[in-house]
């Protein structure tokens, strides 16, 4: 941009000098280029075809009584599918159970994961132990479900035997008991995913400024004070990410629940996605299923919003910290 300006120089003012505004650009950001659009297009179109198009269908289905038999056409139902949800006890209980399940999973996983990370940090065996601890994460959740079902079995399950031997369990069955079933499922999730929390926390611990720790110790703080007043505040962004991701996965993955209890006994473990699965793919009431799915997607969108905000800012902060 050329401007005309008067500039001060030693000894007076020079009038009518052409100056150029120099705007330094962020070196990684460029003005729009159309070839970038073409690079983006195939992926965006495919993603739209498999996510937006089904979303339109989902809304259509939630307003109809969907007929799967060939030759029958869907019947307009208005908001019936939604209004029926308000009085659907299983639907409301599904939400409650989902939150109860998530709360249990998250609190145990965060507690154990942080403890493991703190102990492992700078431990002699850190590398090898971390490698061993990651193994459960690679397992398909269904297989984990089967494995735990085997361990909980009342006649030949080793975990059942252990629980009996230490006197926690009288007999009967774990997965058939309304009280125990929930904990059994939570334990499976905890077994698989605590290591992830530990790994995230470890990554965070590596970035706790050592000088702060040192200063704190020089001032006479013990290990507990050190953890709670220096390390933990530095860990918050990491824990926040861990909580959000795990919460999201808690209603994304229901494979092990379907295998182990199918939502029973007496709906004690029927978290909302499990209920949705039953409605849509056991009873094939796809219109009602679509309405339930819609409410679930609303929560997803809300979570997505939080995540984009959280990911944007702390990520940048974490990255810059990593570079120094």
């Amino acid at each position: 941009m050329a401007n005309i300006a008067n500039i001060d120089v030693a000894g007076g003012v020079v009038r009518g000098v052409r100056t150029v505004d120099y705007v330094p650009e962020d070196f990684n950001r460029r003005p729009p280029r159309y070839y970038l659009l073409w690079l983006m297009l195939p992926a965006i179109l495919l993603l739209a075809a498999i996510s937006l198009y089904p979303l339109v269908w989902l809304i259509y289905m939630s307003l109809h009584e969907v007929q799967l038999a060939p030759g029958k056409s869907d019947v307009w139902a208005g908001i019936d599918n939604f209004s029926r949800l308000a009085t659907d006890k299983k639907f409301l209980r599904g939400w409650l159970t989902l939150f109860k399940y998530s709360a249990l999973c998250l609190s145990v996983e965060i507690g154990l994961g942080v403890l493991v990370a703190v102990i492992l940090n700078n431990n002699r065996f850190e590398k090898i132990l971390v490698t061993i601890f990651l193994m459960p994460m690679m397992m398909a959740p269904v297989i984990a479900g089967f494995l735990y079902m085997f361990l909980y079995n009342g006649t030949f399950g080793w975990y059942f035997w252990i629980l009996q031997s230490i006197g926690l369990l009288e007999g009967g069955s774990i997965l058939g008991n309304k009280f125990w079933a929930m904990f059994a499922i939570v334990a499976t999730d905890v077994w698989q995913w605590t290591p992830l929390i530990a790994l995230i926390t470890l990554a965070g611990l590596k970035r706790v400024p050592q000088d702060q720790l040192e200063a704190h110790m020089v001032d006479g703080a013990g290990p507990f004070r050190n953890f709670f007043s220096v390390a933990l505040p530095n860990l918050y962004p990491f824990l926040l990410i861990a909580i959000l991701l795990r919460f999201m996965d808690n209603f994304r993955f229901i494979d092990h629940i379907l295998i182990m209890t199918g939502g029973g006994p007496a709906n004690a473990t029927k978290i909302l996605p499990t209920y949705l699965f039953d409605v849509s793919f056991k009873f094939f009431e796809l219109g009602r299923g679509a309405a339930i799915a819609f409410t679930l997607l609303l929560l997803t969108i809300l979570l997505g919003l939080v995540l984009t905000i959280v990911f944007e800012d702390p990520t940048r902060k974490l990255r810059t910290q990593r570079e120094d």
Partner: protein, 292 residues
């Protein structure tokens, strides 16, 4: 930067903590490894041996776990009578296919998203990440109806498309983070030297290649471990390993030996892959938010 070494003095509190932490580590180690160990051991036991347990409270008799004659019968039966070879192939094709589609299209889009600045970019990114977050069951409801009417249910292409619903947004999102870390100056320099834009793009591929490789592996892992899509959309013609495993549960009797063997077959390859991409694992599983 302060040094990493901090002088620690012995105190009763510290020694007690140390002892406790070692105990806890041992507990956590056993808790993590025991189920895996039991799975592997049970897959080599015949049914009678697998059901042996000591008396309640009889801790001394725990060695009964090792008291068996190893047999490979379950594995043989899986691959001869239960056609696990076919399911293994289905699993491979579905997960590799979806990984290939997702990462090839995803890396182009990720590059563009990383380099371009335009109105609505944030909204686009938000759409992409929320697609990835959507619960599989909820996505499957409309997808099932669409696939049914277009004859994709029970076919491998259908399953590949279904897996792409979570792999493609994952690939775009995480690779965008990777391209963000490559300075634009490199491409600029290449273009000064006479490269076309496409050549400049190809030039920085080697810089992100390890990451791209690792995320192909992760996409394969997500597809391989999926059960929900495979059980509904793949049912019939495109049975994958997890679904085939679930079908070993029959009303009359559950074939535990074979289920454990199928578990080993499904899990072991993924564990190796997980070790292979160890460096990228945390970034991959946290959508790039946390790097080690």
């Amino acid at each position: 930067m302060a040094s990493r070494e901090i002088v620690r003095y012995r105190s009763p509190l510290r020694s007690a903590l140390q002892g406790l932490s070692i105990l806890f580590l041992i507990f956590f180690f056993v808790w993590t490894v025991l189920p895996l160990f039991i799975m592997v051991v049970s897959s080599f036991k015949d049914l009678l041996d697998a059901f042996q347990l000591p008396e309640v409270g009889d801790w001394g008799d725990i060695g009964v776990m090792f008291d068996f004659k190893p047999t490979g019968a379950h594995y043989v039966e899986l691959f001869t009578e239960k056609h696990f070879g076919t399911y293994l192939r289905n699993s491979l094709i579905a997960s590799l296919g979806s990984a290939a589609v997702s990462v090839s299209l995803g890396s182009m889009a990720a590059y563009a998203l990383s380099r371009a600045e335009f109105r609505g970019k944030r909204d686009l990114l938000f759409w992409i990440i929320s697609t990835r977050m959507a619960p599989v069951v909820a996505v499957m409801v409309p997808l099932y109806v669409i696939f049914r009417s277009s004859g994709l249910v029970g076919t491998l292409p259908g399953l590949i498309l279904a897996y792409t619903t979570f792999n493609l947004p994952f690939a775009i999102w995480i690779l965008k983070g990777f391209f963000d870390n490559v300075p634009y100056a490199i491409e600029e320099a290449a273009q000064c030297d006479g490269c076309t834009r496409w050549q400049a793009f190809r030039l920085i591929i080697p810089l992100v290649a390890p990451g791209i490789g690792a995320f192909i592996v992760l996409c394969v892992l997500f597809g391989w471990n999926d059960f929900l899509f495979a059980s509904i959309i793949g049912s019939g013609g495109a049975k994958t390993l997890p679904v085939a495993t679930a079908e070993l549960v029959q009303p009359v009797k559950i074939q535990w030996g074979m289920i454990m063997a199928a578990g080993v077959v499904t899990t072991v390859p993924m564990m190796f892959l997980g070790l292979l991409i160890r460096r990228y694992l945390v970034a991959g599983l946290t959508m790039g938010a946390v790097r080690e």
